[in-house]
């Protein structure tokens, strides 16, 4: 079973995302900020990461920069999931190594469609 790490400081969002991703066949781990997510990845690199941008301690974009430098950190498919919807911000995320990008609010169809886009569902 493929694993997906859901990184978001909102417990509600993590819960919603978990339910949607479990339905399309992922095993889910959760982290509430970038630092926690990095610790997860060092222990066990997931297949996919659903990543919020604005979080305390370490933001999503900082996490992504660190992740891509880790051993095996080029492997996970990273899908941003954030309220940030400026084209410049999206470009920045793609330049840092994000594979797809979801703008909140999202629903199950959007997550399924984006994960299919990157060959994960």
């Amino acid at each position: 079973m493929k694993t997906c790490l859901v990184v978001d400081d909102s417990r509600v969002i993590r819960k919603v995302a978990r339910r949607i991703l479990e339905d399309i066949g992922f095993e889910i781990a959760e982290a509430s900020d970038g630092m926690e997510a990095l610790a997860w990845c060092r222990a066990a690199m997931p297949d996919a990461i659903l990543l919020d941008w604005n979080m305390p301690v370490m933001t999503g974009i900082e996490f992504l920069r660190h992740l891509r430098l880790e051993p095996g950190g080029d492997q996970p498919t990273v899908v941003f999931c954030t309220v940030e919807n400026d084209v410049e911000r999206i470009r920045e995320a793609l330049d840092c190594g994000a594979d797809e990008y979801i703008m909140k609010p999202f629903d199950g169809d959007i997550i399924a469609s984006k994960f299919a886009e990157v060959g994960l569902a």
Binding site: N85, V87, I102, D107, S113, E117
Partner: protein, 275 residues
């Protein structure tokens, strides 16, 4: 809705557009007809149908039929047909036509996602097919759908269904709460209102026709007619895309399936274009 009112709508949709409407789907009928009634300043659907019976006004009849014809769509819907178009059909036609125009038709284009997906594909592939002249056409039964499609404006939900983020960044700009497709892509498409089961002899000749999720929405007797209409509008070496789960086989001799390419049809060589 009263049963006789539902029957009138069913009959109207069948007669005018060949559209199959299930009278048992009350929710669908009411969710489509409610907005038409409000727009046309009737107090209720019942009042609107009563006015239709009394006056038989053509414009109102079409507004009702068009509202029942619309359906949900997405960018790059089903994905595979677009990959097939990009990787096989486009390069092949570019070679065969050798600078002569290649005409592509999105029939029943709805709010435009299909034809714009094709336009973006062509734009992204342009350097690989130098000298190819592509002409894109889109049609729908509904004027309202055509207006929305031509605007190139989509909600944040709509642009996240099927559209890869890199294509969003390349081809769209934010316009307040909406996302606006670049004028360069929008200007690639020509638009027209077309009823696919009417006489299509003036529609022109096309090399590729996308007509997906129309066939199975039609009443049985109109399906063969649609296919024969499309066959006449297709060049002899052209291609037709139907939706997943739709088939021309058994309905009409006009098309034959392309093996190993689900949803793709070629004109049957024995089909005579002149009816």
């Amino acid at each position: 809705m009263r049963p006789e009112d539902k029957d009138l709508v069913v009959q109207l949709c069948g007669a005018r557009a060949g559209l199959h409407v299930d009278p048992a789907k009350d929710y669908l009928l009411e969710s489509r007809l409610g907005p038409v009634a409000r727009r046309e300043n009737f107090g209720s659907i019942d009042e609107m149908i009563a006015a239709l019976r009394a006056k038989r006004e053509d414009r109102l009849a079409w507004a009702i039929v068009e509202s029942m014809a619309s359906s949900e769509t997405a960018f790059f819907r089903d994905r595979i047909p677009f990959n097939l178009f990009r990787d096989e059909i486009l390069p092949t036609l570019a070679r065969l036509r050798d600078g002569e125009p290649i005409r592509i038709w999105s029939a029943a284009c709805g709010s435009g996602q299909e034809v714009y997906s094709l336009a973006m594909t062509i734009d992204d592939q342009r350097s690989l097919i130098p000298g190819a002249r592509l002409e894109l056409f889109a049609s729908d039964l509904s004027e309202r759908a055509l207006e929305k499609a031509q605007s190139g404006l989509y909600t944040q939900f709509e642009i996240q269904r099927g559209l890869p983020i890199r294509q969003l960044v390349r081809h769209f700009e934010k316009a307040e709460e909406m996302w606006a497709l670049s004028p360069r892509i929008r200007q690639m498409v020509r638009w027209r209102r077309i009823n696919l089961v009417a006489d299509l002899s003036a529609a022109g000749r096309f090399d590729v026709i996308f007509c997906r999720y129309v066939l199975n929405a039609l009443v049985e007797p109109m399906r063969a007619r649609l296919l024969e209409n499309l066959a006449r509008a297709l060049s002899p070496d052209g291609f037709l895309f139907l939706g997943l789960g739709e088939t021309a086989t058994g309905l009409s001799e006009a098309f034959q399936p392309v093996s190993g390419r689900p949803g793709l049809y070629a004109r049957n060589p024995s089909f005579r274009a002149a009816a």
